[in-house]
Symmetry: C2
Subunit: 177 residues, 2 copies
């Protein structure tokens, strides 16, 4: 079976905001069937898993308005246009947690919701951290909560890690899978 790839026949931009754009495209399949795609355009997200100097993984707690909940996450931020991904990762780690990392490498890149969003999320692993002080963006209210391997395992087992990037990073860290 060949997988049918649709192509755009027309499109309209519905909204262009601060963090996302929304457009609606009309598409056609090779067999001429037609459909409509509602697409969120997002510039991408970058996140970082790192151990501090006590060997604890640096999680943050943050209220997330869309899900109306305070959740655990790894430090993360929105990729700015034309920004180098690894640099964005280092910057977000430093701004949100105060730690400067010497070494950083990509361990995952994934699509959180490929059915309706263009977003790619990158996960980096950072090493050799030094505390240099936080610089939160205006409107960011973030609590830094370092967790030992045992504490992380408990949070994971109790399904208290609910954010996609954090879940993937923590499973990788715990299982080395």
């Amino acid at each position: 079976m060949t997988i049918k790839k649709e192509s755009k026949t027309s499109g309209e931009i519905i909204f262009s905001g601060n963090i996302l754009k929304l457009h609606r495209d009309k598409v056609e399949f090779p067999d001429k069937a037609k459909s409509v795609r509602e697409v969120v355009e997002h510039s991408g997200g970058v996140s970082v898993i790192a151990e501090n100097d006590q060997g604890k993984v640096i999680l943050i707690k943050q209220y997330r308005y869309p899900v109306d909940e305070v959740i655990y996450e790894i430090p993360a931020g929105k990729l700015e246009k034309d920004e180098e991904v690894a640099e964005c990762a280092l910057r977000e780690l430093r701004e949100e947690t105060g730690y400067q990392a010497e070494k950083i490498e990509e361990i995952f890149r994934f699509y959180p919701t490929p059915g309706y969003s263009t977003e790619t999320i990158y996960i980096y692993k950072a090493e050799n951290l030094e505390y240099v002080g936080r610089e939160l963006d205006e409107g960011e209210y973030i609590e830094v909560v370092p967790k030992s391997r045992e504490e992380l395992k408990e949070l994971y087992k109790n399904r208290e890690i609910k954010d996609s990037k954090t879940l993937i990073a923590v499973m990788h860290y715990l299982g080395e899978c």
Copy 2:
């Protein structure tokens, strides 16, 4: 530190489509700072990891327009309003792959992008499958590709699993982590 939870002061609905709604809310923090939240409203997604009668995990391949790529996924679908989640999981598995499952249990629920979307994705594990035939929705072009544990491990190691729910389900399956 107390985590500051913002509250909505006003909101406008920007778009109401087939698969998502978009609204923009003005919010205020306890310290009176103000911000704007662009929120995608989504009714939720349900997905299923299952082995077929040959002990292979049932993946599907599907073109995803927003990311312009054919990707591997586990069978999944959109939760309809007031639909029971486990029933939706059984239905999507049957429609997309042709397998009817006797037993099903939730193994994860997570937020793919809690920064801008309300969506929760559920992952179920299904067991005791029987092939009863597929019933694809109109506009669904899906290839079923069962994978052995070894094949899955290769796909995972080569970072060919790029979809969030599928990555979480496969890591859990492979590592039992």
